[in-house]
């Protein structure tokens, strides 16, 4: 049953009670089917080196932990080589570096693809230089397909992200996914694939990381995704429910401890597994790829502190690394840390910060050790302050500001940025917030829902002119020529139509209402650029001197006053999106597909109650059999 290629398909009605499908066994391929080829042998190229420099820290007036002060920094990924061929198949010897300024952004993706942006449009994007991909999106195949790509950097090569301009990092799971999953065990983590849930052990993770060569690797950790809370295992009526986003996932102390133990082990195993004895060709090359460790401990500040301390404690056996000094602590071998907000009570950050002043102590947050801010402080407190800090799934620009100010977070990603484009929202906000037209008036929204009828005749650009490519589009001077006379089409004397104008709200409104995909491309390009500008704004604000945390937090309070949280804007947009979706009528292919999918799901659902002879719960519906098994496993551990 530990066959790593075994799939469990989640039961939609009972998310915590998975059912087991017949395992897919690649060793017994169907006739005529060729077994997957061995991974290609690639040129051994050195790992990139990662450097994080803190350029300045805001002065702290209050006598608070210096570790958590907001800081300006620069993350540098340096490759000792560059791929001259576009597909990255040949390694050259030119050093190449990519700088990411902090506070800044990481672009979260599905399948490593920045939503709606083909590679020529990705080149126009701002704010997508660091692309993060979850491996689970590729795990519907026994070996993830990109691992077979012939290029020296297979993940870059497969996804067509140029190694010269883009960082690609990899985690097993999508860090935004807070849906319930079957239980992890000592041997594996449950990953979600399009074909169901799949078990991934630490050895698999090491193998795939080596094969895929992402620039940065997220350590495999055991983040509990089962619903526990105070659930009484005997009470049949206890409905398994999803966690409420922003309220935190309540996990039993026992489960938290288990998660920490496994995570420590796996982080250490990853370090050992990826550390090389050095590269004789390039002796200066790093011994291992840059590694980011997600910080565990759930919603318990003592546990979080304990987990972080574990990373700093001496290892029982140092990790040898070539001629270098052996690693005595895990922390010495990692580049940075990640906080996964999806399962934390981040809603608490959606209120204006209590401004810190010289005199008034921020008493509220000190009372309860498990407030969001205290959880972060507990995690970061014991750790080396010079390491990179990444927060996943910050729910709003407001929360991003608070995380910078109160926990010194350096990099952010968020699923709502891509969602905004899908919902027809053009983001529009700045930091510091511009002065309000009428003092005391209503707060502005952080964007416009271009589905709204009022934009049908609005020929203004979708955002300010300096904000994004769609607001200042440029035609390329080069055109593909298909025939000998084609250059006549593009001769300069023939260039009519003048300079391109910004794409207007009216045009995007039209595209949204006619279901034209170009709308999403334009909006996502725009929204990424607006986020990028927001971080630019924050960095330039923070680089003013002298500036203290007091002034910063006052400015953040002003931002909270000036802009509403995104909730209402997104809810309205979802409603409008739905209206248009429905109004498109029966002809919509999409609706047909959905109907089809529902039928298919209903058909699959019918199989849930099939009897599986191989399992101890013989004669029981499959999902119950699994539940029995899961409980048995949990008890043994």
């Amino acid at each position: 049953m530990d066959d790593p290629t075994e799939y469990i398909v989640e039961d939609q009605d009972h998310p915590t009670k998975p059912r087991r499908e017949k395992p897919i066994r690649p060793q017994k391929p169907r006739a005529r089917k060729v077994p997957p080829p061995a991974l290609p042998i690639r040129e051994a190229i050195p790992y990139p080196s990662a450097k994080f420099e803190i350029l300045s820290r805001l002065d702290s007036v209050k006598n608070e932990d210096g570790n958590l002060r907001p800081r300006l920094g620069r993350f540098t990924l340096q490759r000792g080589w560059v791929a001259p061929a576009k597909d990255g198949t040949k390694a050259g010897d030119v050093a190449l570096q990519i700088d990411i300024k902090t506070p800044g952004m990481i672009c979260g993706t599905r399948r490593g693809i920045v939503k709606h942006l083909s590679q020529d449009n990705l080149a126009l994007a701002r704010g997508a230089e660091w692309i993060h991909a979850p491996l689970e999106d590729f795990l519907e195949h026994p070996t993830p397909i990109p691992a077979h790509h012939p290029s020296a950097l297979p993940l870059h090569g497969f996804l067509t992200h140029p190694p010269s301009s883009h960082i690609v990092s990899l985690s097993l799971r999508n860090p935004h996914d807070n849906k319930n999953m079957p239980a992890n065990t000592n041997a594996f983590v449950q990953a979600r694939t399009v074909r169901g849930v799949r078990k991934v052990g630490i050895e698999d993770w090491i193998t795939w990381c080596k094969a895929l060569r992402p620039d940065l690797i997220w350590a495999l950790v055991d983040a509990p995704k089962t619903l526990t809370g105070v659930a009484d295992p005997d009470s049949e009526g206890a409905e398994a429910s999803e966690i409420i986003p922003g309220e935190g996932r309540q996990t039993s102390q026992k489960r938290t401890m288990k998660s920490m133990d496994r995570s420590w082990l796996w982080v250490e195993a990853l370090l050992r597994g990826l550390t090389t004895s050095g590269n004789s060709a390039s002796p200066a090359a790093p011994f291992r790829p840059p590694i980011i460790v997600p910080l565990m401990g759930g919603c318990d500040s003592r546990a979080r502190e304990e987990f972080s301390k574990g990373l700093v404690d001496k290892l029982d056996a140092p990790i040898a690394q070539g001629t270098g000094i052996a690693l005595k602590r895990v922390e010495e071998g990692v580049t940075g840390y990640a906080v996964e907000l999806a399962d934390l009570p981040f809603n608490e950050l959606s209120t204006p910060p209590v401004p810190v002043t010289d005199s008034i102590q921020d008493a509220a947050s000190d009372d309860d050790p498990d407030t969001m801010v205290n959880l972060l402080r507990a995690s970061l407190g014991p750790l080396d302050t010079a390491k990179l800090r990444i927060a996943h799934s910050a729910p709003s620009p407001h929360v991003i500001l608070r995380l910078i100010a109160e926990a010194g977070i350096d990099l952010f990603d968020a699923p709502w940025i891509a969602e905004a484009a899908d919902l027809g929202i053009a983001l529009d906000f700045r930091f510091p917030a511009p002065p309000r037209s009428e003092p005391g008036g209503p707060a502005a929204r952080i964007g416009r829902s271009l589905f709204e009828e009022r934009f049908a005749m609005d020929f203004e650009p979708i955002g300010e002119l300096d904000s994004s490519w769609p607001c200042q589009p440029v035609f390329s001077d080069s055109h593909i020529l298909h025939g000998r006379l084609d250059s006549d089409q593009w001769s300069s004397s023939d260039k009519r139509g003048g300079h391109p104008k910004a794409f207007t709200r009216a045009y995007v409104h039209h595209l949204l209402h006619t279901h034209e995909m170009s709308a999403y491309t334009l909006l996502h390009l725009h929204n990424l650029a607006v986020m990028n500008r927001f971080f630019d704004n924050i960095r330039s604000y923070m680089s003013q001197t002298p500036l203290s945390t007091v002034e910063f937090s006052k400015e953040i309070v002003r931002f909270f006053e000036a802009y509403d949280l995104p909730g209402q804007l997104f809810d309205d947009a979802r409603r409008r999106w739905k209206e248009v979706e429905d109004a498109r009528g029966k002809g919509s292919l999409k609706r047909e597909r959905e109907t089809l999918r529902n039928v298919q799901e209903a058909e699959q659902g019918a199989q849930v109650f099939a009897v599986d002879d191989a399992h101890p719960g013989e004669g029981m519906p499959k999902s119950d059999a699994i539940a029995v098994l899961e409980e048995a496993i949990e008890d043994r551990l």
Binding site: S118, T160, S476
Partner: protein, 446 residues
């Protein structure tokens, strides 16, 4: 062909931006592909965003940010061919309008439509269709015609043809009266022979709009002849001709004969536009028959279903056999998809999940169509078009067999497709198979 927004070299294929956007792409991307003439759809733009918005935007060029040439056709595409079904594709042969009769009523005054949104009847007269196209401001506009399905027979076909001629007269009259058939310079309005429509006061220089006539007459050669005679009489007011009423499911063997009949008769000094033609073999045969322009949603629509066009035949990238293919769709293709290292494997893994795959294949397919036509132009210039046809068919159909109708049609213009491929003269027609019927070639399941 020099139009208000630049030069377009003919013959050419025109991608379709039904609702003022080539599916998923920006105008900048489309232009970079080497495309200088696209289509918008009058019917759709009139429904959304409507002429008020277009007029306020300063026309469809400005509205969608397209600075090159634009043509507007009137094609209610309520009919939606099930492209992913093998049979349907081969049956329909094209994706132009088939029949309006289910939701329109044609009278001498105009066409009565039911709005797809409200069901309200709307009268569309020839004058109104031109007025809408003035608001859109395309460089080439089309007359309103009375279309019947190419499968229709009987007196209705003749009635439709004659009405199309009468409607052409009304379109010409309205168009000339508006002054839109001439360029208009705001800086020098007195230089104009006729007054501009008041809605465009304050607008910058506006190029002329060219009204094309549409030849009707169904599949009846006599009716086509009659229509041609009538419409050619009006040549002075008609800068170009379209061949309409085809691609509605008729047999290819009849289709090409009608096209040839039209191109034989149409004046040399007017561009000929064959509506709704998009398959590679159709395009090349039509070019051989003397067609200059063609349009079809096929290359963009098929892209969204994961089908990439190549000179070796279409590839269905959804098929599992592409899952591990790390090469591009076509090594020799200059499109952004093929030159960026985008592999068949990547497109296979994305096509059902991410819009990006559709965008990438759309770019590739548009470049394929443009290369097909660009190669045709060069071959015509070099006087080697027959050689080009033979080499294209050998690659594209070599494995499956040549469509019979292509062989017949090309023979009619003096090109023997099978030349040089014969094994022996007697008995065996060719080493290459010949496919009877419509012979579209699809990789849908293998």
């Amino acid at each position: 062909m020099v139009l208000g927004h630049g030069t377009t070299i003919l013959p050419t294929f025109m991608p379709v931006a039904t609702q003022a956007a080539i599916k998923g792409l920006t105008p900048q991307q489309v232009e970079a592909l080497g495309i200088s003439l696209i289509l918008n759809n009058t019917y759709h733009l009139n429904l959304r965003p409507g002429t008020d918005v277009l007029q306020k935007a300063g026309g469809a060029h400005a509205f969608q940010g397209w600075r090159r040439n634009l043509l507007t056709v009137f094609v209610p595409s309520i009919f939606s061919p099930p492209i992913n079904s093998n049979d349907a594709v081969q049956d329909s042969g094209g994706f132009q309008l088939v029949s309006l009769s289910s939701f329109t009523e044609i009278t001498e005054e105009g066409a009565l439509f039911a709005s797809p949104f409200t069901g309200e009847p709307t009268m569309l007269t020839p004058e109104e269709s031109i007025r809408i196209q003035h608001a859109i401001g395309a460089d080439i506009i089309m007359q309103l015609d009375d279309v019947v399905s190419s499968l229709t027979t009987g007196p209705r076909v003749r009635e439709a043809m004659l009405r199309s001629v009468r409607w052409l007269d009304r379109c010409i009259a309205f168009h000339k009266a508006s002054g839109r058939d001439k360029p208009y310079d705001t800086a020098n309005p007195n230089g104009m022979q006729e007054s501009a429509s008041p809605t465009n006061e304050g607008q910058p220089t506006r190029p002329e709009q060219n009204l094309f006539a549409i030849i009707q007459g169904g599949l009846d050669p006599e009716l086509r002849e009659e229509c041609l005679d009538e419409m050619i009489k009006r040549k002075e007011d008609v800068p170009g001709y379209a061949i309409g009423g085809l691609s509605g499911g008729e047999e290819k063997a009849i289709f090409w004969k009608i096209v040839k009949l039209c191109t034989d008769k149409l004046p040399e000094d007017r561009p000929r536009y064959s509506m709704g033609i998009g398959f590679a073999e159709d395009l090349l045969v039509c070019v051989a028959l003397g067609v200059d322009m063609a349009d079809c949603v096929f290359p963009t629509r098929t892209a969204r279903f994961g089908v990439a066009l190549t000179f070796d035949g279409p590839l269905n990238l959804r098929l599992g056999k592409h899952a591990m293919e790390f090469g591009p769709i076509d090594e020799t293709c200059p499109c952004p998809t093929c030159t960026s290292g985008t592999s068949r494997a990547l497109l296979h893994s994305l096509i059902t999940h991410e819009t990006v795959a559709a965008h990438a294949i759309t770019q590739h397919n548009l470049v394929f169509q443009a290369r097909l036509m660009g190669n045709a132009r060069d071959a015509i210039l070099a006087d080697t078009y027959p050689t080009y046809l033979r080499s294209f068919f050998a690659r594209y159909f070599g494995a499956t067999g040549y469509p019979r109708w292509c062989i017949d049609a090309l023979k009619e213009v003096g090109v023997d497709l099978l030349e040089g491929t014969e094994k022996g003269k007697e008995g065996v027609e060719s080493a290459i198979g010949v496919v009877e019927g419509d012979g579209a070639r699809w990789e849908y399941s293998t």
